[in-house]
Symmetry: D2
């Protein structure tokens, strides 16, 4: 039987769950998994429901909207592989992990292509059978560079852009075109060590734990809504190289975790926070 | 406004959420927090809902039962401090943590008394102002010992018995009288190292991580439904003493976590598993 | 047989380990545990050795100094309970944990007294049998307040001051009198969320992990050398209260861990870093 | 300047460190990193020292042996890439992680070939440019199957065999030929859930944490010396598929960690324990 994921965001109101679950029942759908959450500070209601059964999409959505406060966002996510483009620079660990996962259909995503400002990873990507686009930033202004990228990727019906250690800052204009659709992995436990060289900063500060953060990209540097974080203990014996080695393992785990959540439609964004039904 | 916690367990059926949330809405109650879960292997439905508002308890429960399959268990948990009796033997760390928490109302529990088969912790407990009952097991059969305990604790309207490093095995007869109401902390990552001296076993096996497990007590040794577990890394430099020291910290954290969950009515037991709405 | 802890810091040089371990051997001492570390960026050598046997302290130290570069710091730490004074404000969780540990000799410390700028914790501390000094800050300048504290604590031969959620910032003058001898627990994963209300900051930032940091206090706010850190995962369902509850458990674990290390002479400070032989 | 790793195991004796470090100094070698450990229960001494400088290997080793108790094992590990053969069955996650690491020289190993009892991973491996040997077990006795494997791998000067989710049990005879040179990843937190289907066992037991263990293979099932372990929290919402997905991430992290340690000569085996200088 076909499975659908119903995603609802609206202002909170008494009785929403009753009305929505009533409508689902009347359409003869079976609830497999259900989650609701009310964010107190914004008085916003979030709901994610996996249902099983045959449905007329527009009919169901229209009825649901009739039960919800004005401005409600209601959508049915298709349970399908998402279409992603991966951005990388020179480091292979996060990209490699995604390529291996996709090679065995473990990511719920189809990689359309890999874009890089360097040529370093080209033959590696091509061995996996994916297109690799080298778009150098040298000799181009930031705007020209992004324009070249956009020309390349816009024709694709891409769902998400994944920055798998892409070491360029995107302009607000670029980001605006893919709102809440660009996922970055930052190699620190944000908000600690924003910006460049977080491992170097961590080494110099003498922290006992390092981490990584996967987040949506917004116009502020490393300020977008956090999707996943994880950490690993270190000690004074860790030189910078060992911190980096340890960190790379966390980065790839955290990015994989965040992508799993996003690509299976489990993540809502509310301001600079995520609400995750995992 | 008054807050109530509604707890429902029944066989799964299409439309339960719709009917229950409809009834809650019709009673003019506001849902603050809501969780549902269907255990696939048992086809059992579990629901925990925090609602706000005035209600007629028996009227609400009767109506809810009328909407649910036969055999449904429905109850309203009062949002109140639970009444607990703590059992200990000689080690103070878990007991001490509970006493400190209760001294500042951080546990959602009232400690009625502390029971021990040794006198070791007596003055410590009394300094906190709680009754301490020394019921030695020496010279008594297991049945006589438990009988003495039962005579002491039965008059109390106790909600839960907390075994805070109580180093005696309870008989199935004793356990049966407090089904799913006895919580134990075991000093290993169950099911590893069941039984006696788990730290010694861990030392001898050369594991790189040790742990602790809080679980409900049933008739099998260390086999009851697990509520919470946590771990800490160790290495070859850890002698048995250092393993024990590290372990004690995990034990008290895990027990505190499990008690927080149980004492705020977040835990359902289903067979040998727990379903936790945290 | 008596155990001693030998602690050496000096500029690095080829052959130090050979000369030091030769001298230890010639004095007929048995090495139980030994650790060395060279900090590359400072070219400093650190060594901690536990030895067993009878020794003439000044003779051994003099000989060791003769083998080491000029400026070497060599000392024998007595293996004894350290003398500490605990500072707190209103929150009991860290203080309570220390009191319970000390009550059963698990901290390698003797608590001389507890100092607080509020009266809130007074009877709690007195029930454990320790002196409690309420030194209010209200109506006093920061300098007057610290002067009152210093007058109280200076007569004691105190080894360390432990800030167990003491919510006052100490002046550089105060700190200078107890260099590398004041240990603070900060309720965030430093350097994230420096300063006031870190849990509130964490809540607003939408992080997925919170943490705590135990560090030596220096003249900069939350900038002293870090001794221990730990974290706990949270999610969007955690309101501020639940973040605080979760955080309190981490705080007490991290402070206990840091104190264990410091009070057993395992921690060297090098600039804003710690070198820990655990 | 050239770097060497000196590895010593012998019965403990007073003065060993002094004599060994004296000899190192006399040979004009500079100690970069040094670790010693005495295992109390076996009275065995372990030492790992990284030194810098020119040396005459046999001269140094002979001198060191003259300073050590009879039976001492002393060797100089070359700081070079180790030669490994990877065994896999059908699952790609651990193997893929190793292939990506090796493709960018991050593992300190050269993969000589990949051996599998299935053909499933063949084209994947070949895309990375490594030989893939499909040696089916069907229609062969265990001895015949292992004989075919041995014939294939014996000509290679292999340092370690890495079982990256190789789902066959090796005979004691096979294991004996590669003592302490076969590394396995087991998908549970050993000693919990020995043997087949540990994730299924974990699901049925209702644990709140799952884990993975990398260990040397010996003649007992899942009983060899543990090198690395790690865990991930789960809850009642995790079905078996989600447990497996989560577990796979831990497996690849733990195996990568263990291999890093082994392949850089940081691991001693003592009975069923490892001593690790990381």
């Amino acid at each position: 039987m076909k499975t659908h994921i119903l995603l609802i965001t609206c202002n909170d109101q008494t009785g929403i769950v009753a009305r929505v679950s009533g409508a689902i029942f009347q359409h003869g759908l079976n609830v497999i998994r259900n989650g609701e959450f009310v964010e107190q500070e914004s008085s916003r209601f979030f709901m994610r429901t996996e249902v099983e059964g045959d449905l007329d999409e527009s009919e169901l959505l229209n009825e649901l909207r009739s039960h919800l406060p004005p401005g409600a966002v209601v959508r049915l996510a298709e349970k399908r592989e998402k279409r992603i483009i991966v951005f990388a620079t020179k480091e292979p660990h996060c990209l490699g992990d995604l390529l291996v996962q996709c090679a065995f259909n473990n990511l719920n995503a189809e990689i359309l292509s890999v874009v890089s400002n360097h040529n370093h990873l080209g033959s590696f990507v091509k061995n996996f059978g994916y297109p690799f686009h080298h778009i150098p930033h040298k000799g181009r202004s930031r705007e020209e560079h992004e324009k070249a990228i956009l020309e390349l990727i816009e024709p694709d019906q891409v769902d998400y852009l994944v920055l798998a250690k892409y070491m360029r800052i995107l302009t607000p204009e670029f980001v605006a075109q893919y709102q809440n659709r660009i996922i970055n992995i930052h190699h620190s436990f944000l908000p600690a060590f924003v910006g460049a060289n977080p491992y170097c900063q961590a080494f110099q500060r003498g922290v006992k734990i390092i981490g990584a953060t996967a987040h949506f990209v917004n116009e502020g540097l490393d300020e977008g809504a956090i999707i996943a974080q994880n950490i690993s203990p270190i000690d004074h014996q860790f030189g910078l190289n060992e911190i980096v080695r340890t960190g790379h393992n966390i980065e790839k785990m955290v990015l994989a975790r965040a992508l799993h959540l996003v690509l299976t439609d489990r993540v809502f964004v509310s301001g600079n926070k995520t609400i995750i039904f995992d």
